[in-house]
Symmetry: C2
Subunit: 275 residues, 2 copies
């Protein structure tokens, strides 16, 4: 998917919502457990109910991997089921030496290899350039690089001071020599809104994937005010607050309601801040 | 496996060799492709031929994941097949926010979840403490944290200077507050032997997992001289130079010969430097 196509979809839907399919078999409604693939059945109903209100879906791979081969089958069915209009993110946080990162790229981008065909994958920057660039060899696919994360340990190394700025600022600067805003995005934690203005001075044009709104407590208006650029430039993720909004037979309807609330709020911020 | 049991196995075998099961279906001998699970069949024959000369096996998860659900089945069969005496490493380089790292920990450590039961997993440090500590909740299991990697991009961020030392030195220092040498090891690239003496001043007792000997060109004597401590403290990995030593019907025999050469060299260095 191109930068322009993504912005077009955002403008049309008046939404920059990404829904995290962090589907935990221990948390899904009990009535689904009788299905042959409860995880896929849950995802299918969530997707049917929410696709009108979001522009992206982001399965976190840990949830599928934890179920072994069966989890990979659920993931494959899920990614096939997501409408082609929606930007798909493999939240995998991979990264290895060059030839091995090439295999991870095949995993998520080459359906003839693993059966998966995501638009993008999240990558950890610690191992540097050759751990990231193999993902860029797949035309039209995106790397979403971890920059500043919202978890409690995020500050341990990302905020270490170097002579040219904090470590995460160096990640933002150095990685721009690997690809432009048409192929790379950055993960920026929503609980760090005070840093967003700073980040926008380093990466004015890039999309930022912002997790942490909803269950993790980020503030959507603050994120939109400081993070939005003239092509929106934001994908704001909510996972648990949407997919586990209900736990009964009506779980998908409850998820739809939550997604709709966020979409309506986003429509306001797009009018207000996207310019 | 305990620190003491690992050292005991090393002393008995006179080997600190770890064999990387980076099994690429595009590179294994053609005659295996007729098997129902060629990747497992390859691994099985490699393990049978080399188990006497090594103390550890390290499948890099990318090679299995790239084959989707079928790859996970090959991985599961492989890990079940490895003798219990051998220390197993899931070279996965995972790391996510706390509850998600917990799921990755289940993936590799809890056989009732994914079918896998590794002794250890490699973890990327970028997301900090809460991305690492969930792996330590599994008693008797190990975290092997990326510190200084041997790939060309390794210097991009790992060698940034902070006021208290390089970033990788900060990783070594900070992570020691999370677990001791009985539960944590570090990945240190073998092409960086000049750094090993320095690393040993920061982590004198920890095991170091040293990839890059063999196909990646590290020097085994240098690594042993500067990296060894009184409990050996080294697992030196070789992958391609062993598993692809041959490509015919005798591939396992060729792998055995290569493993044996390294083991003999290691026996000398254990006598010389392990004290």
């Amino acid at each position: 998917m191109t930068y322009e196509a993504l912005f077009e979809h955002i403008s049309q839907k008046k939404s920059y919502l990404c829904i995290g399919l962090d589907t935990d078999i221990r948390k899904i409604p009990a009535h689904l457990l009788k299905e042959s693939d409860p995880v896929f059945e849950f995802n299918k109903q969530i997707i049917d109910a929410t696709a009108d209100y979001c522009v992206s879906y982001k399965p976190n791979i840990a949830f599928y991997e934890a179920l072994g081969a069966k989890g990979w089958e659920s993931l494959q069915k899920t990614i096939e089921y997501i409408p082609k209009s929606h930007f798909t993110i493999a939240d995998a946080k991979r990264g290895d030496i060059g030839n091995t990162s090439g295999l991870y790229a095949r995993t998520f981008f080459d359906p003839s290899s693993s059966g998966l065909n995501f638009d993008s994958v999240t990558v950890a920057p610690y191992m540097g350039s050759d751990s990231v660039t193999p993902f860029l060899d797949f035309e039209g696919k995106w790397v979403i690089l971890l920059a500043l994360t919202s978890n409690s340990g995020g500050a341990d190394f990302q905020r270490l001071e170097t002579k040219d700025g904090l470590v995460y600022e160096q990640v933002l600067k150095t990685s721009q020599t690997w690809a432009g805003a048409d192929r790379m995005m950055y993960v920026v934690g929503a609980t760090q809104t005070k840093d967003l203005a700073n980040i926008r001075t380093i990466v004015p044009d890039h999309f930022l994937l912002v997790p942490g709104v909803g269950a993790q407590g980020g503030n959507l208006e603050e994120v939109s005010r400081y993070g939005m650029n003239k092509a929106c430039g934001l994908l704001v993720n909510a996972s648990r607050s949407i997919i586990y909004a209900g736990n009964g037979l009506d779980f998908a309807e409850k998820a739809k309601e939550e997604a709709q609330v966020l979409q309506k709020e986003m429509a306001v911020y797009l009018d207000k801040y996207c310019n």
